[in-house]
């Protein structure tokens, strides 16, 4: 592997991409699934680039946000994490403990008013079950369980006003 050839695992939301990046002349090339792509980014503004992949181009809003990158393109908002391939392999063999922790905390997706809390500590919940109802913009929004589990802790009560990303409860 030369200095300019680098292999990465990129995680976009839940999907993983095994990507190699290298310099090629003035530009950059990507190898992905046995195909080679000529790629470039040109700045369009603050936090905004034009991504060119061969002859195609997409406007991308991209900026670093903690350990990840916020990426918005073609109407979709995504979170991407870039890891060197070797590191990613290491992490995987050590078990994917990290991800699970994040999944287990249920947060408020928006600021609003907690109308209903359907569960209490120790309850067994099933994927898709409504855990909490939050009112915002005159609508009731159901916060549902992303997977089966057991309620470890509940942080809110009915009638509480919550901010975005405030912890609602934690599953075991």
């Amino acid at each position: 592997m030369t200095q300019f050839e680098n292999r990465y695992v990129v995680t976009v939301d839940d999907e993983e991409f095994d990507i190699s990046l290298r310099k090629a002349g003035d530009g950059l090339q990507i190898d992905y699934k046995g195909k080679t792509y000529n790629v470039a980014v040109d700045k369009l503004g603050d936090k905004k680039v034009l991504l060119k992949i061969d002859a195609g181009s997409s406007e991308v809003d991209i900026f670093r946000n903690g350990r990840g990158l916020n990426v918005f393109l073609e109407g979709k908002e995504m979170v991407a994490k870039v890891e060197p391939y070797n590191l990613a392999e290491l992490r995987k063999s050590a078990g994917s403990a990290l991800k699970d922790v994040e999944d287990k905390v249920v947060k408020a997706p928006m600021p609003g008013l907690v109308l209903v809390v359907n569960v209490k500590r120790g309850d067994i919940v099933k994927k898709g079950m409504t855990l909490v109802i939050i009112e915002a913009m005159k609508m009731e929004n159901m916060i549902k369980a992303a997977h089966d589990g057991k309620v470890k802790e509940v942080f809110v009560i009915s009638g509480k006003a919550v901010d975005k990303n405030e912890k609602l409860l934690e599953l075991e």
Partner: protein
Amino acid sequence: MTKGNIRKILIANRGEIAIRIIRACHDAGIIAVAVYSEIDKTAYHVRLADEAYCVGPALARESYLNQRKIIEIAHDCGADAIHPGYGFLAENSEFARLCEKNEIIFIGPKSETIALLGDKLEARRVAIKAGLPVVPGTDYDIQDIKKVSSIAKDIGYPLLVKAAAGGGGKGMRIVQSEDGLVESVESAIREAGSAFGDGRVYFEKYLENPRHIEIQIFADSHGNAVYLGERECSIQRRHQKVIEESPSPIMTPELRKKMGMAAVNIAKESKYLGAGTVEFLVDGNCNFYFLEVNTRLQVEHPVTEMVTGIDLVREQIRVAEGKTLSFKQEDIQPRGHAIECRIYAEDPHQDFMPSTGIVAEYREPSGPGIRVDSGVVSGSEISIYYDPIMAKMIVWGRDREESMERTERALTEYRISGVHSTIGFACSIIRSGGFRKGEYSTGYVDHEFPDRNFECPLSDQARKAAFAAVIFDYMERQKIAIAPKRNSEKQSGWAQYYRNSAVNRLDKVR
């Protein structure tokens, strides 16, 4: 109420509909006055208006619903008229009455008409009197709980318990069989009582998967009343319209005339004034049933504007000035086809949960047949306080096919970053087989997309995002600045260029 030319209108609303009304005022040379809540102090409707006054804190009932304050501002700034838009005070008969008392023109029907048609049971009686087919049911409220079982048997199951003062699904219950009938009625009465302070409920037969088709009506103060064709509004999520079109795919000239005349009859029966909408349910055999009258401008009114060429808001103003309608029934010649997609700040993949934040970038599609009525611009804030509608995209085409093609194309051009939007959702509806064929009913979204697996307009975003991320990360680590935009004034390559071509060009000039 002073008649004659209106010189100044206060718009008791916000967002896209306030802007729509400001535009109509400016077209007519009328001064447009905006009101705004504290959180809306830099909103786009404030910037476009000629004058703007703060009407209170963010919470709607302290600002956009603050009747006395609005009247006070109208008085102080010398407004002749108030346009309520839709929502907020638009169907509030008390507010209309307050305007009348204060000799300010309320741009809408008379307060009595609003009160009459706002009561669903009363409206049902008016419809029956005007000879309209109504959904089988009771034309009285259920007073004796002992009789419900026999009344229900006469109508047949499934049936709907509805609140007379109803709206927004409150005090409404679907009952599938005699089991739980009494319980449902009792709970509906309780809910209606608590929500509206009016516990009257009545029965209607429940139609399964009907189409929701509405007729636009217009009436002036000289006894003229006309219909301006229909809008098909069956594409809904959370029981709210999201995509509307005109003409309806199932419409025939005969049916249009029948429904149109029915709607005009109700206008005449209720002494209607201005713009209104008569909503119908239509079953699989093209039988139509009166549902309710919306005594205001509808969200989806531009669909009608696109096919008729008539500016409904300006016509509202004319009628409010006491003028006769600027068109007769025979002048209304619909042309082509129009589709409206409502663009909400919602995440379709999370059950249409509202999305708040700053609209980082807002860029509209354009080209032939495209019109966008928006309440936001780049930098606007979407708060939790109000309806999450950001904009409406209305697309005209020579026929339904062209209108769908243009809609699909325009949606892929539309760019809203910073908050979630329903652009991708609208695109997957437009692309879906049932919509393309025009075969859909009010249950379409839930039925076709049970898993909410709306595809976004373009594919492969995750792979592209991965590519972008890997390049961004690499450049960041290597400290390679992403090439800044050229700036013609600072890093001028022009002089050099011209230097190279100077001799050549001068040869010609000389």
